[in-house]
């Protein structure tokens, strides 16, 4: 099976190593959690695996960490097959969802733990731990215990601890999911900054599309143990290859379309079609809300049924005269004064769209 990617791993090799998951299959009883997963991470690259619960993303990460064993398939790190290597000999740093700090150790001792196991002497250990804590902005908290820290601080310490051992690969298992929205956004940016600074090849697992799109060099969307598509965030968003990817990543309008000559007619507009679309005849176009423009027009073909203020942008739900419901997400300034009940004209940006069977 080949990797269903629209893009190859990043070329600008960092200080990290290449990671390759080769045909990983994992069966739990009658459930196939992974179904021949193929994935390659370039040195220094951050790849996010995104998907709903049970899609196999965490299983893939755990197999890479050595915490679970594949039913079949192999794991290569830096070209070496480590499929049979025990977790504690794999040299990987991992940050878990939450509560992984050792509660009987101070922050500094937590960060020093991996170094202590490697026989590094006390002075060097302490210096390295403090350097890592400085990297995550917590050097002043080094003598505290986990229960004295906030959730966000605990995850920062967990990141420092994972990086202190200079792992060949960094694994992040939904490290932000237990945090509140504001802290999550801050820590997300911090993880990216730190990862770029240390250049460690990183696999990040999440069910949050915003996190994946904001953090990763490439995002792999998983479904039923397989990769549906892997691509840089922008490409994944603007050029989804399957209905599942289009629906899972971002909002999508489903509009009736007619395809002919490599273009689709959607609500009166001619739009180029993406690879994987219906080639001829009727179908359903998956159109992003940003592609749908609305302007006040008393002779327009739609009526605004709801309007939401989202800061710099507005989200309008409109109903066309032929009964279709559309969601438009456009700059607030372009629809100032338009409210629910107003008649509007709807225009669709001629960006390529995916058209699936009707």
């Amino acid at each position: 099976m080949t990797e269903p990617a629209t893009s190859a791993p990043r070329e600008d090799a960092g200080r990290g190593v290449q990671v390759r998951l080769d045909g990983l299959t994992r069966v739990f009883g009658s459930v196939k959690a992974l179904d021949g997963l193929e994935l390659t991470l370039a040195p220094g690259e951050l790849v996010a695996l995104l998907g709903p619960s049970g899609c196999g993303k965490t299983t893939a990460l755990r197999i890479l960490a050595g915490l679970d064993t594949a039913t079949s398939g192999r794991v290569f790190v830096g070209g070496t097959d480590i499929s049979g290597v025990a977790a504690h000999k794999r040299d990987m740093g991992m940050v878990f969802q939450a509560y992984s700090l050792f509660p009987h150790m101070t922050v500094r001792h937590n960060v020093e733990f991996g170094l202590k196991l490697r026989g590094i002497d006390g002075g060097k250990r302490r210096a390295r731990a403090m350097q890592m804590l400085e990297l995550v902005g917590l050097e002043s908290q080094s003598d505290r215990y986990a229960h004295q820290l906030s959730g966000g601080q605990q995850q920062r310490v967990a990141l420092a601890r994972a990086l202190a051992i200079e792992p060949s690969v960094l694994l992040l298992d939904e490290p932000l999911s237990a945090l509140d929205a504001k802290v999550r956004a801050q820590l997300r940016d911090e993880i990216r900054r730190v990862q770029l600074e240390v250049g460690t090849t990183t696999l990040f697992v999440t069910h949050d599309q915003e996190e994946a799109l904001a953090l990763a060099d490439r995002v792999g969307v998983m479904r039923a143990g397989r990769l549906e598509q892997i691509a840089p965030p922008e490409e994944l968003y603007s050029k989804p290859r399957t209905e599942f990817v289009a629906e899972f990543v971002g909002l999508t309008n489903r509009l009736p379309a007619y395809v002919s000559g490599g273009a689709a007619t959607v609500a009166g507009s001619r739009l180029p079609t993406l690879a994987g679309s219906v080639e001829e005849g009727r179908g359903t176009a998956l159109v992003r809300p940003e592609q749908i423009h609305v302007r006040a027009d008393t002779d327009g073909n739609a009526v605004v049924s709801a309007s939401s203020f989202l800061g710099a942008i507005s989200r309008l739900t409109v109903t066309t005269d032929d009964g279709a419901h559309l969601v438009s997400q456009i700059p607030r300034t372009s629809v100032q004064g338009v409210t629910a009940g107003d008649r509007v004209a709807v225009l669709i940006d001629p960006a390529p769209v995916l058209v699936i069977g009707a």
Partner: protein, 283 residues
Amino acid sequence: MAKPASRIGASLGLAPFLLYAAIFLIVPTVVVFVRAFIVDGAFSLEALASLKKASMIEITKNTLLLSLATAVVGALIGAVVAYVVSTANPNGLLRRFVTSASGVLAQFGGVTLAFAFIATVGREGVVSRWLDGAGIDITNSTWLFSLKGLMLVYTYFQVPLMVIVFLPALDGIRPQWREAADTLGASTWQYWRHVGVPLLFPAFLGALLLLFANAFAAYATAAALVNQGSPILALKIADALGNELLGNQTSVASAIALEMVLIVAVVMFAYSRLQQQTSRWLR
């Protein structure tokens, strides 16, 4: 936060129990404390001085040894059993069986337990007779009715008590700690040495102290088994209260009780401190 009215309601709900505890725990403790210093109606240190007699020191040592030995043996065996249970299926038969059985057996002291042992390894016990048939004669032995016998019998309820007390601590060990240690390079041995054992140690020590106090204060089992002499403090109190030859020994009994109260108080204080530590780590 609860409204003041509901807090008052909750406090009222506790009132009957607090009253009950006050009457039958605090009042006797105060009475024991006062009577230990009064002999024949006057203040005296005579009763307390009797605790320094060689025979009393011997009994105190016996009681401490019995309590410590059964606490250590019970804690070690119980911890192993609890560990096996904690690694089994949480809803499985093994866990349900062991926890239910432990709940019952931890309370299985007194005359019934003494009878169970007499009926099996006593002079006319079933096992004693089998052994006799196999050429091993223990039918004339009095070991079951000595301190050694008490140790064996006490261990029977100490082990299940340990299982009940220690299992929550083992359940509090998060799988993430093991996996984090794994990915940081810890072998199984290193994980237990640096993470598992240090985390569980306060809980283990706390449970051991509870077992110590449990054995130290036990009376009924020993009373049912031992009918000659008073090798432990609890029996000595009964002896002092009921000895017709020596006359009224209430002050001596109170002095012994006071000694026991103080020892148990120290043990329970240490236990509560360890419990605080454990609850902070193994939530």
